[in-house]
Point group: C2
Chain length 410, copies 2
């Protein structure tokens, strides 16, 4: 039987141990929601003060050149590229994940004339589906969203499919697609593969170039620790960059934005996928989060993430037998960086956990989702979280009225 | 003949005088580019520290409820609404101006079945045109961008026009459309009127509700002093809110985002026009800028803006006769809040001005653009700016080689 002391010893020997101190975390708080909003890197506040007081306050408009605000989107993009196996010049930081899905799905369909199907699955994060539905509502060449169960995705790819779109890791269950096999199947059918890396980038090593991915999008505020609503990113493989034509053709994606031509002419390279002026303050915070991540060995991050999840599963089975349905995959290879438990009273139990300083999140209808972020989550945190969960279940604390009221954001 | 002493007396008597101290401005700097990037309000840095260290660092994911991040877009939107004559519930802060143009043009065309023309003018800011071109490239129902000279806009509105789209103030010349007359003409022809308020919001009083405007967008980082790349806003008149269907249908515009349905169903009210997760840090900075603006009497702001521009025109004519072509309108009613001078060597002259601590900006091919932001620009600043401009012209300082090299951002 595992003991807390054994886990404390694992923490003491953890090669990632020193990273915890790079983040601001209140004493006693067990934060298992870095997959919704990553924790605050310790150096972000000072960097933002500098951006605000010096770059904006003093240098004002000249910062676009002097402090290279104009190059920030590609600079941060290239850094993110290093975390997701993308060579330089293929990633840019811009807009939100939803907006980037729209850009790239529209562009993908245009790359496959005569095909209209965008194939996705029921496990994809809904906003990806909503954006395709929005595109379909206005798209002249015809766009049809086809949804299958996530395990059936590869089998459903045929020569009607213009674009296969899914999120590598299911946000609700942690189930993980086989990126190489899915990409290969898409290409075999002549389709474009578009990956949403919201729960991948910064969570484990991703190999976009190596698997031959075409397009990808991802989120800055989860595992990249970029801050609330941090801008998102998008990836376009070099081979598609000259032919892709983004429908959200804003001025900063123009070949010569400051010529102020009346007709759009796309910039070369990845920059054409930029639209309007980026939120510089939010992007500067994202860069801080990415910089910390780049110091870590992603293989080590992955190894620890798998170990934390295995431990979590084991402790729940050993200590809370039969109380929860474990829905995250037991096989580490088929799992992202989260543990998911189902319970009819999941919402109230999550509220009781938050009151006990353990922060997971709830995903309707009945899922307790625990994000594992190895840079700042320790083995003992998993022990303590399961302890507190056990206490809540034993005392039925979750039945308290204050834990039943649904907040706006769950 | 005006003297500097007379202008200093005007500043001393200026009812807006106390506002200058609310902004960070280096000694000796004359900042005439608040229409590209507004100056830093003094309280923004402390507010951002609080958002970063307390709301993000301590409260983490719970801030979406506890610190009402989820309500930030409509809260800031309503505040901006007070500056542009829009009653509550009609403005939301989201995305970039370009993205918002796309949303609303697509929605406007859908509101007028059988019509395909989006009418705009050569004076509109190019990104607005580019976004319509992007929409036209994918839009099934057919969208055609038609451009006319800005003075011919009203006359070109006919019953083929689905949507009239223009920026109230020409970014290059400062020429200002007649909002009431243009809106009326659009309605007489059965068209939807969409205003871009990039150079209006925070610059002078706007009366969207009173003129019966349908839709509007605008920018957060110019006259609203929201910081670099601050999120933009959009306005949808109440009467259109139930029928409008935004094509960028992201999850935060869903009626129940946390139900995670597989099918998009638009939220009621203005919220359906939100798409993805907003950049909270950048939006918090924008709120600081808007809050300062709300303390000012916009009629007073306008009065001073007109006086500053009239003074600028007069000083250039008196002291630099024949050296520049004054292209901003002399009639205050037909002018935004900027003064524009044309010169063949405009770019180099702007660089020489920047070196002399006067910051205007350059707009291709030959325009020196001076933004007038009455909360922090004084009458003596206009005097001193023209002095320094005169010195540069007399000594031909602008001929120096270092002033000829074009930067990425001009």
């Amino acid at each position: 039987m595992t003991t807390r002391a054994e886990l404390a010893a694992l923490d003491a020997a953890d090669p990632l141990q020193s990273f915890r101190d790079r983040f601001v975390l209140a004493d006693g708080l067990i934060y298992l929601d870095g997959n919704s909003l990553g924790a605050l890197p310790r150096h972000t506040a000072a960097r933002l003060q500098d951006v605000i007081t010096r770059e904006w306050g003093q240098d004002l408009i000249t910062s676009w050149n002097r402090n290279d605000w104009i190059g920030m989107g590609t600079r941060v993009g290239d850094k993110i590229g290093r975390l997701i196996g993308a060579g330089p010049g293929q990633v840019v930081c811009a807009d939100s994940t939803s907006i980037n899905v729209f850009k790239l799905v529209a562009a993908a369909v245009a790359l496959r004339p005569g095909r209209t199907v965008v194939l996705s699955d029921h496990g994809n994060f809904p906003t990806d589906l909503y954006m395709v539905q929005g595109l379909a509502s206005i798209a002249g060449q015809g766009v049809t969203l086809k949804l299958v169960d996530e395990g059936d995705l590869i089998g459903a790819i045929d020569d009607t499919v213009a674009c296969v779109l899914t999120t590598e890791v299911n946000y609700r269950t942690g189930w993980r697609h086989d990126m190489a096999a899915t990409t290969k199947a898409a290409h075999a059918a002549g389709a474009i593969m578009l990956w949403d890396l919201a729960h991948s980038a910064g969570a484990f090593p991703v190999h976009l170039d190596a698997v031959g991915a075409d397009l990808a999008v991802g989120c800055g505020y989860k595992y990249l620790n970029g801050g609330p609503g941090a801008p998102a990113f998008l990836y376009v493989a070099s081979r598609h960059q000259a032919t892709i034509r983004p429908p959200l053709s804003g001025w900063l994606g123009h070949d010569a934005p400051f010529a102020f031509d009346l007709t759009y002419r796309p910039a070369g390279g990845i920059v054409r996928n930029v639209c309007g002026t980026p939120p510089v303050l939010s992007m500067a915070a994202l860069e801080c989060g990415v910089d910390v991540m780049l110091e870590a060995d992603m293989a080590e991050v992955r190894r620890k993430s798998v170990a934390l999840a295995d431990l979590f599963h084991q402790l729940v089975e050993d200590r809370l037998p039969g109380q929860f349905r474990i829905i995250s995959p037991r096989d580490g290879d088929r799992r992202g960086s989260q543990v998911c438990l189902a319970h009819d009273h999941g919402y109230a139990i999550v509220q009781a956990l938050v009151a006990a300083h353990v922060i997971p999140d709830f995903r309707a209808p009945d899922i307790l989702r625990f994000g594992l972020t190895p840079l700042y989550v320790r083995y003992v945190d998993i022990w303590d979280a399961v302890e507190r969960l056990g206490a809540i279940m034993a005392a039925e604390t979750w039945r308290r009225p204050e834990f039943q009221t649904r907040a706006k954001v769950t």
